[in-house]
Amino acid sequence: MRNQRAVSAVAAVLLSLFVFFSFFPVLIMLLTSVKSRLEISLGIFRLPTDIRWDNYGRAFRKVIPYTGNSLLIAVAVVVGVLIVSSLAAYSLARYRFPGREPIYYSIIALMMVPTVLVLIPMFKMVAALHLLNSYWVVILPQVAGGCVMAVFLLRSFFAGLPEELFESFRIDGAREGTVLRSLVLPLSKPILGTVAVLNFNTSWNDYIWPMVTINKESLKPIVTGIMSFTNDYSSDYGPMMAAYVLASLPLMLVIGFSMRYFVDGLTSGAVKA
């Protein structure tokens, strides 16, 4: 038994070390974000002697418009994915109809297709549709992409709901839309939460597609916006790092408050895979 305790202690020490290294870039970011130019040039591992909060003031004004764009896009994507995928998953889970299996597999097969493959034809297409430099050009493909995984997760959850509940609803003569809205969705809150958080995260992190489709500064989401102000600051690392901190905050808050959905969802997806 003592042996076990010792092993547990060693594991805890090693894990602490790994956590420290995992957060190392973040620590450097936080440390540098409150330093003056002079102190940064003295060495990035040193603790700051006088704390420069005004770095954040300078970064704040630049970051806010981009953050607004990212929030708007991410929320629209989450809402879109939830609506479209729960309709589709409900249909695939609870109805029997000709072509159901082929349709399901042709959706799931999209998980195998690398995103790089479609980058160029998709760009040519949205350019032809005059969608470049709009929120839609980012929102619509992200909704389409997010729905694939969401249908996979939601279908298996919806299919597991007990049939008796549905029968009692149908006996009352409820319409199809009502069954979905007042029976299925309320029972599926945890999995819907998982889908929402995963898609918020994906949307917030998307980089290459917004970079090629939006070059108007006022519409850029934060992740591509970061690039613009990284170039603006040139070598003024204090405000630059402060801007990175501010750019990370909304995502930290959203995932922080929904960590349970995030972890449970990823874990349950893993067990099924």
Partner: protein, 300 residues
């Protein structure tokens, strides 16, 4: 008569399920426009000469011939091979190691706390993490030269040096613990029946032995998944070299995904870019298929 069960004519069963189709319609429409159509176009355009604003002209296998005699493409393959090699070894072993360590913690609360902390790393946007690494690698202000000077290594150019750039990009993920892979493997370990582990303890089975004979075989499904995911990710992801080096210096950090991106968006050669995408798709399908076959036959 075909069978004992009366079968509805197809159109009637389709009509009866009209709600089901209506519910599927928004998704099918979205996927048709933003997935199926671009995929078909990507495959088709690999066989076309399609440059700039010009009309696309069918040119058969010319793009493929050009690609397979293009030294830049081979250079990018060599580079991506190193990314893949690193990601499917260190990138799988590190999450496995951390999952094992978590599994050996006695306190469930501590386990949850550590797991949450590792997952919390995901809350920093990946582009921000890459930009911090770019800062760390800065030969003047970044701390990397200070770190290696402790080891007796002279100052390096890191991302700017022809011989150091690729290694610097690959190693920038330190300590290489992908939280998603960690969760997948940890979920597999937790699914191991407790009775099996108790039995192994009673049999006087050491930890190392238990790891090799119980843990490893029982999480082999999860490991296979993580392996495939990391190979596919290493193969297609190019935002790291794009942000850190732009593929340079020269083509020291160029990977096929980035080469495709540059062919399409910098040189406006969409046909050639589609061909690179086509070859990548085939390679990825082949790797997934081969891994599935290989690992399954080991289990039998």
């Amino acid at each position: 008569m075909r069978g004992t069960e009366p079968r509805l004519p197809l159109w009637r069963s389709v009509y009866r399920a009209k709600h089901a189709y209506a519910f599927l319609l928004p998704l099918i429409a979205l996927l048709a426009i933003f997935s199926y159509y671009p995929i078909v176009m990507a495959l088709k355009m690999s066989f076309y000469q399609w440059k700039g604003g010009n009309e696309a002209i069918f040119n058969g296998l010319d793009n493929f011939r050009e690609l397979f005699s293009d030294p830049t493409f081979y250079r990018s393959l060599g580079n991506v091979f190193r990314f893949i090699l690193f990601d499917c070894t260190v990138g799988v072993l590190m999450p496995l190691l951390v999952a094992e360590l978590l599994f050996h913690l006695r306190s469930a609360r501590l386990q949850y706390a550590f797991r949450t902390m590792f997952v919390a790393t995901i809350t920093v946007p990946s582009v921000v993490v890459i930009l911090i690494w770019v800062f760390l690698y800065n030969p003047v202000v970044g701390g990397m030269n200070a770190v290696v000077s402790v080891l007796g290594i002279g100052p390096q150019l890191w991302l700017g040096g022809t011989s150091t750039a690729l290694g610097s990009v690959i190693l920038s993920g330190f300590p290489f613990i992908n939280p998603i892979y960690l969760l997948i493997i940890f979920a597999g370990l937790q699914a191991i029946p407790g009775s099996l582990i108790e039995a192994s303890v009673l049999e006087g089975c050491g930890r190392w032995r238990r790891f090799l004979s119980i843990d490893l075989p029982l999480v082999s499904g999860q490991l296979k998944l993580v392996f495939i995911l990391s190979v596919l990710h290493a193969m297609q992801s190019f935002y790291k070299p794009l942000i850190m080096t732009g593929g340079g210096p020269g083509d020291a950090t160029l990977v096929p995904g980035l080469y495709m991106f540059q062919s399409g968006f910098s040189r406006n050669d969409f046909g050639y870019a589609s061909t690179i995408g086509f070859v990548m798709l085939i390679a990825m399908l082949a790797i997934t298929f081969a891994t599935n076959k290989l690992v399954r036959s080991e289990n039998d």
